[in-house]
């Protein structure tokens, strides 16, 4: 009984640690900074053919007078 409990408590600890790390990572990467954008972003398609490709010619940038 007690050993089961100890095992479960240990498991709880591991889970809590993972949850904590997950939330810390989310905070660090700024996921709580913008609460409106992501809900809109999900509605956009990423493979739209109208999406511009690379457009600036790196050489032009370097050589421009």
């Amino acid at each position: 009984m007690t050993s089961t409990l100890i095992f479960l408590l240990g498991l709880t600890g591991v889970f809590l640690l993972l949850i904590g790390l997950g939330i810390f990572w989310a905070i660090k990467s700024g996921q709580f900074e913008d609460m409106e954008g992501p809900s809109q972003r999900i509605l956009m398609d990423d493979d739209d053919p109208l999406l511009p490709r690379r457009v600036v010619d790196a050489d032009a940038l370097k050589k421009a007078p």
Partner: protein, 797 residues
């Protein structure tokens, strides 16, 4: 045309130049690298149809693109990057950019996707709310200037954002708060589970060993709460104690520490109660309510700080050595800058040479360009529209008008209204009383039933935490203020909302407030041998220096090149202007200034302005000013609310009366100088009325300052803004009535909050003192009471 024309811009192609482009297998010749880059961008975007469908040749690409690229390349300079780029790893750099032109979520998506597919760009996050992009890139593969150029080609403008600024600090603090909240939340959830097991165990008979194990587990989980999450309370309580004051953090800390020490003791010896659940729940809810209140408050600061982004980071300095691009940080007052059309002024300054129109909409809300002549002042962040100006820097960075507006806002947020100050004082006394009562109750229980004394003292400390009392006012004010800001009403003084709720009389200045403030010259009547055109020319020349709205129509009807040089110009607010033109002193304004008797005014609704020289009147100008479309709506709404209304105008009585009749305002007074307006206002106040003054212009500055609440139209001159409590940025008059409503709601919510907080404490203290509240219930009650206060305030948003 003697040579081939550029396919892109139509300019002739110089000899020996070869910049080809291939569109759908047909080669075309271009005149320069700039056009080639633009054309290539258009083709690569699959937008080549542009060349089939365009009806007009592009103006810019030809010359501005290389110049812009050159400007962008400066951002690659390590010296310049130092102020806004962070090194996040070997060769990895991170910068925060402010994106101009973000209007919807699609813009965010476009920027993110597009930048991410560039080689070397590691991550891009665009914040939809604040329009800021955080970009991480590998400097070996891509330069910042290339990234910026890509953004420009998408049609947006990116400015580097100084990472050391207050906003970055605030973001850091916000993240720290979130981490504390997360720790408290995770621990509270888990400790609560153990607590349920422990309470159930008491009923069903849990083995002592199992209970002990659960207690030790709870203790372990409470450690991060005590030593990390609760830290802000310790430091706040400590700084309060050091300054010999009491704030609500003191009892909070006493409760936390005593509960923790008591619980650890009981866990160690395996006897009595543990309160780990109460500790973590208490911390969680306190942190939560504070974060909620703080976020509401900081919204409006952010809005103001986005104003600051408008000043550019680079400037063109003109010196004997020629022109050079320098970062704005390096400028010093006295530097000479060249500002091209379309550019924003990097610093406050005075025009040294050139004549141009300037868009100051960001400051005044007025989209009409303001004409700037030699000697005019320009404001950092405003945009030069017509032709190049050379300015001499007078203020940079912190010393610019833009920065002072932001400071004003910060100040307003820091300034607490009377009621909130009272609440702070009361909660100070309340804390003393609370500590005293707790001590007495503790001693009494010690004598009666020593076992329960600790638990009851703890419950009492927690349940009476004056959080609700301290949050009552700031939460309501922050919510009300941020609601108004979204509607375009900026509160610049802390007391404004409170006073506005008590207003009984609204006083209007006429020009620029009830009327559009852009009068038009209707008729010119020459009274002497000078003809009407010459009189207009003289009038316009004199009015160059005046900021009065009546100056504009004169300037509008005379071409800028025809203006005569004026020396020794004098501006006397409320009366007019005088100046010397070609050796003769002329006066323009109302007749007291010119010192001549005039015929009585004839036509109602017209403002009359007289031009005179030393000896006689030269001309009479008739100006008419149109009512604002929404003035009638505002007046009707205010009347329905039972407000007293007055017009105090510097124009003559007939004009004021004419406007008053149109709107249905009975109390109209005209022909008032600033001193008269002030006297009239003070008479009203002496009669016990609370006066709100709506004004605009230099004329009103002293009067605005004297009214209990003053409101300046967004288009008002700087002086009026600095002395007004509220700025109507949106220039929609009905928002004034709305603001009055919101102020009343805010006050009533504040009163409800106070009533609730006081009632809660009055009930909770005796109940807890008598031992009917266990510590976890106390934590729940305390949190519920402050949560109710905050949520009640959020109804305003």
């Amino acid at each position: 045309m003697n040579s081939a024309a550029c396919f892109h811009c139509g300019e002739p192609i110089p000899r020996g130049v070869d910049f080809p482009i291939r569109i759908e297998h047909t080669p075309h010749a271009l005149c320069c690298r700039g056009c080639q880059a633009v054309a290539q961008a258009i083709v690569d975007n699959g937008l080549a149809d542009y060349y089939k469908n365009r009806t007009k040749l592009p103006q810019r690409g030809h010359e501005l693109l290389p110049a812009e690229l050159e400007q962008l390349r400066l951002y690659d300079h390590p010296q310049i990057q130092k102020s806004f780029v962070l090194e996040t790893g070997p060769h990895l750099k991170q910068a925060v950019l402010i994106l101009e032109g973000i209007t919807c979520a699609a813009c965010v998506w476009l920027n993110e996707r597009h930048l991410l597919q560039l080689p070397g760009v590691k991550s891009v996050q665009v914040n939809y709310g604040s329009h800021r992009a955080r970009i991480v890139w590998d400097e070996r593969e891509i330069n910042l200037s290339q990234i910026l150029a890509e953004i420009q080609l998408l049609g947006y403008h990116a400015h580097p954002y100084n990472a050391q600024s207050a906003a970055a600090l605030r973001e850091k603090r916000h993240k720290k708060d979130l981490r504390r909240l997360a720790i408290a939340g995770i621990s509270a959830a888990q400790v609560m589970m153990f607590a349920v097991a422990l309470y159930a165990g008491i009923w069903y008979g849990m083995e002592a060993g199992t209970a002990g194990l659960l207690r030790w587990a709870s203790l372990t989980l409470t450690l991060p709460v005590m030593f990390y999450a609760a830290q802000p309370f310790y430091s706040a309580a400590w700084s309060a104690l050091r300054s010999r004051h009491l704030n609500m953090d003191v009892p909070v800390v006493i409760a936390l520490v005593s509960a923790f020490v008591g619980s650890v003791y009981n866990t160690w010896f395996g006897a009595g109660h543990v309160y780990f659940d109460a500790i973590s729940m208490f911390t969680l809810f306190l942190l939560g309510t504070r974060l909620l209140e703080q976020t509401a408050r900081e919204r409006s600061v952010e809005a103001a700080e986005n104003l600051l982004k408008l000043a550019p980071a680079m400037a063109t300095r003109v010196s004997d050595a020629g022109q050079q691009f320098v970062p704005v940080l390096e400028l010093i007052p006295g530097d000479r800058l060249l500002v091209k059309p379309g550019e924003a002024f990097p610093a406050d300054g005075m025009v040294e040479s050139g004549v141009s129109g300037v868009d100051e909409a960001l400051l005044t809300g007025e989209s009409r360009p303001v004409s700037k002549l030699v000697g005019s002042n320009v404001i950092a962040g405003s945009i030069n529209l017509d032709s190049p100006l050379t300015i001499i820097v007078t203020g940079i960075g912190e010393h610019t008008v833009l920065a002072s507006i932001v400071r004003m806002l910060d100040h307003a947020l820091a300034e607490k209204p009377r009621l909130a100050q009272l609440a702070d004082r009361v909660s100070g006394y309340f804390t003393w009383a609370l500590l005293g009562i707790t001590l007495l109750v503790g001693l009494a229980w010690w004598a009666v039933e020593a076992d329960r004394a600790f638990e009851i003292v703890l419950a009492l400390l927690v349940v009476t935490c004056p959080c609700a009392l301290s949050l009552a006012a700031p939460a309501a004010l922050a919510a009300g203020g941020s609601h108004l800001l979204r509607r375009g009403v900026l509160i610049t003084r802390g007391h404004a909302l409170e006073t506005m709720a008590q207003v009984t009389r609204v006083v209007f200045d006429k020009t620029g407030t009830l009327t559009v403030g852009k009068p038009v010259l209707q008729a010119t009547q020459a009274l002497a041998e000078l003809d009407a055109a010459r009189c207009r020319q003289l009038a316009a020349s004199l009015e160059q220096a005046s900021e009065h709205p009546l100056a504009q129509p004169f300037l509008a009807c005379v071409a800028q090149s025809e203006l005569l040089p004026v020396s020794d110009a004098r501006n006397e607010p409320g009366r007019g202007v005088s100046g010397v033109v070609a050796g003769r002193r002329y006066y323009i304004g109302r007749t007291e200034l010119a010192g001549h008797a005039t015929q009585s005014s004839i036509d109602s609704g017209m403002t009359q302005v007289w031009l005179a020289d030393e000896t006689r009147l030269l001309a009479r100008f008739e100006l008419a000013d149109a009512l604002r479309n929404d003035a009638k709506t505002l007046i009707d709404t205010l009347k329905a609310r039972g407000m007293q209304l007055s017009i105090l105008s510097g124009d003559d009585l007939t004009t004021a009366r004419h406007i008053g009749d149109q709107l249905g305002i009975d109390d109209c007074r005209g022909g008032l100088k600033p001193a008269d307006k002030l006297a009239a206002l003070q008479a009203m106040q002496a009669a016990g009325e609370v006066v709100m003054m709506l004004g605009d212009g230099v004329n009103d500055a002293p009067v605005l300052a004297a009214a209990q609440v003053s409101l300046a139209m967004g288009g008002g001159t700087q002086v009026a803004r600095a002395t007004s409590d509220i700025v109507l940025l949106c220039e929609r008059l009905p928002e004034v009535a709305h603001a009055l409503d919101v102020s009343r709601q805010t006050m009533s919510i504040m009163h409800q909050n106070f009533a609730w907080a006081i009632a809660y404490n009055l009930i909770a203290v005796p109940v807890a003192a008598l031992g009917f509240v266990s510590p976890w219930l106390a934590a729940l009650g305390m949190s519920a009471s402050s949560l109710i206060v905050v949520v009640n305030a959020l109804r305003l948003r």
